[in-house]
């Protein structure tokens, strides 16, 4: 199963590579957008000494975690974003008529090219800023890897949850709900202390981006004790189970199209 998953992904990459110009443009745009978003903390910190006691490099670390999670999700699980289209075009019928887990079929579908470069930006900047913060040691690195994987799972679960909403809508083709919700998640690029309580709650419980990128950095910089790692793992597992349940409930609700 995993072999087929990977071989499908490599086939998709091969396909994308046939369009050379598009391939490089996508990779480049992935790098550019992320580098630009890294410029924001740079500007802020050249005018302010600190944000709620956080150093500049710590904010960069938040971004690194976010990029790794988003990048991996886009490369590995891009198919989630195709659920609305599959449902509205009736192609979901084909998914349901195969004796293979629908979730597996959805996850293995397609590839997000930008994700490759987004992941790379994150994967390069993570060790750089770990080193600058003096946590480039064995426990720090192991913890970072673990937290990044949890972040990926959380990110995937959240995407799945948002996109499964289409099973209950009759909007005929497009829904902007998933995009809106992930946009909200982008507020979690900064320490949560700067936000009022309600937003903090939102970013941790409803749109769990706080657990993807802010909480890991809080653990690494020591403002949360290390057992919080388990909290992050628990949150991602919980969200995954929730998303999976909602997805399968949605399938039960699926009415297909046409007569």
């Amino acid at each position: 199963m995993i072999r087929i998953f990977l071989s499908l992904k490599s086939q998709y990459i091969k396909t994308e590579m046939e369009y050379t110009a598009n391939f490089w443009m996508m990779l480049l745009s992935g790098v550019l957008t992320r580098v630009v978003s890294m410029a924001a903390p740079f500007v802020i910190y050249s005018n302010l000494p600190d944000i709620a006691g956080w150093k500049k490099d710590e904010v960069y670390l938040i971004l690194s975690f976010l990029f790794i999670a988003e990048g991996l999700c886009s490369v590995l699980f891009e198919g989630i974003w195709h659920i609305p289209e599959m449902v509205f075009s009736g192609r979901f019928d084909c998914v349901l008529s195969r004796p293979v887990s629908p979730l597996y079929q959805v996850l293995s579908y397609g590839i997000g090219l930008q994700g490759i470069s987004v992941f790379l930006v994150g994967a390069v900047s993570l060790p750089v800023f770990l080193r600058r913060l003096g946590i480039w040691n064995l426990p720090g690195t192991v913890m970072s890897l673990f937290l990044a994987l949890c972040g990926m799972l959380l990110c995937m679960s959240f995407y799945l949850l948002c996109n499964s909403a289409v099973f209950w809508f009759d909007s005929g083709g497009s829904t902007s709900i998933p995009y809106t919700l992930t946009e909200i998640g982008q507020y979690a690029r900064y320490p949560l202390e700067i936000y009022p309580g309600i937003v903090r709650f939102l970013l941790l419980v409803v749109v769990p981006y706080g657990f993807i990128c802010v909480v890991p950095v809080e653990i690494l910089r020591g403002s949360l004790p290390w057992p919080w790692c388990l909290g992050v793992a628990g949150a991602s597992l919980g969200f995954f189970l929730l998303a999976r349940t909602v997805f399968y409930r949605g399938i039960g609700h699926y009415e297909s199209v046409g007569m």
Binding site: M1, R3, I4, S7, L8, Q11, Y12, T15, S89, G90, R91, D93, C94, L96, S97, R98, P99, V100, G110, D170, Y254, E255, S256, G258, M259
Partner: protein, 326 residues
């Protein structure tokens, strides 16, 4: 093999009001209407048979197929395939059937056909020897050799359909559901596909449930037919009997100069002329084709002549028009 009893399916549809005002109204409260797609259908299909399902657009054919696959839950009534409820059969059940929706491809769009086939082998956990045997057979009979390295999205419609049909046989399904498998295909591809399906049905005993608009499809592949209209069953029996029951006329079209009056020879025929083309519609109970041909050749300097069987659309419209029900 398939057994349906009083099977019904009703959809809830959001009744949209017209105009911008209606659209705004819809934002606040939606009106739901019930649309019955399949209405108390009962029929059964025996092991290894090929059954055609005929009906106009929106008659409920696809809904019926989706209930038999287990994608949709019936509103009421009972459906059993292999003696069990498809909705409960899970993956075990899906492994025993094959499904083709004519307008949607089962192939992975972006990857070469052969990779799709290998993916099926792994995902269906097929035994290597069985896969090899089925693979060799479909590649040979459907002439797939040169399509194998091509990504599915680069195939023409006909090539794609051949590849799709080949793929569905890889796991030796016991029962096949085909929803309009030859829609939009040219005559050669249709022929290849029909011959192949017929052969698989007869050699391996694979049951076939087919919906189509194309009488030739149904003629060449199936022995039995059910006809549904507005979700209701209006015919269930052999194909031959159906044609006899619903098709009462045939038509001959002649091009050429008329030299003598034909109406005297064939008093019950309806004759119409349009320029140099004469159409003669005659009841098959009264005249045999040979009689009509003899009469026509006596009266015309024939340049061209064709005999037409009413096609399925005509049969179907006749059935649904109520003409044939008497």
């Amino acid at each position: 093999m398939i057994e349906a009893q009083n099977l019904s399916k009703a959809y809830k549809i959001n009744r949209k009001k017209a105009g911008l005002k209606g659209a705004i109204g819809n934002l606040f409260h939606a009106e739901w209407a019930e649309k019955v797609a399949v209405d108390r259908l009962s029929f059964h299909m025996r092991e290894g048979k090929a059954l055609a399902c005929i009906g106009e657009n929106g008659a409920g054919k696809s809904t019926l197929i989706k209930m038999m696959i287990g994608i949709l839950t019936p509103t009421s009534g009972k459906i059993r395939v292999f003696g069990q409820d498809p909705r409960r059969g899970g993956r075990e059940y899906l492994r025993r059937i094959g499904v083709i929706f004519g307008q949607k491809s089962n192939l992975w769009t972006d990857i070469p056909v052969i990779e799709s086939y290998h993916a099926v082998k792994t995902l269906y956990k097929l035994d290597g020897e069985m896969f090899r045997r089925n693979y060799d057979r479909v590649v040979e009979l459907l002439d797939l050799e040169e399509l194998l390295p091509v990504p599915a999205r680069k195939l023409s419609l006909g090539q794609r359909m051949r590849a799709d049909i080949g793929m569905v046989f890889l796991h030796s399904p016991e029962l096949l559901f085909l929803d309009e498998p030859t829609i939009g295909l040219d005559i050669n591809v249709k022929h290849t596909i029909r011959t192949f399906l017929r052969q698989m049905n007869q050699e391996t005993g694979t049951g076939i449930f087919l919906t189509s608009h194309d009488l030739d499809d149904i003629d060449e592949i199936c022995d039995d037919a059910i006809v549904i209209s507005g979700g209701k069953l209006i015919y269930d029996g052999t194909l031959d009997r159906m044609k006899h029951r619903f098709v009462q006329d045939k038509m001959i079209q002649v091009t050429g100069k008329q030299e003598r009056d034909l109406q005297d020879l064939l008093p019950s025929a309806r004759i119409s002329r349009e320029g140099r083309v004469t159409r003669i519609v005659y009841p098959i109970q009264e005249y045999s084709s040979a009689e009509v041909l003899a009469a026509v050749s006596g009266c015309f300097a024939i340049e061209d002549i064709t005999i037409q069987e009413p096609d399925i659309d005509e049969v179907v419209s006749r059935i649904f028009g109520g003409e044939g029900r008497a």
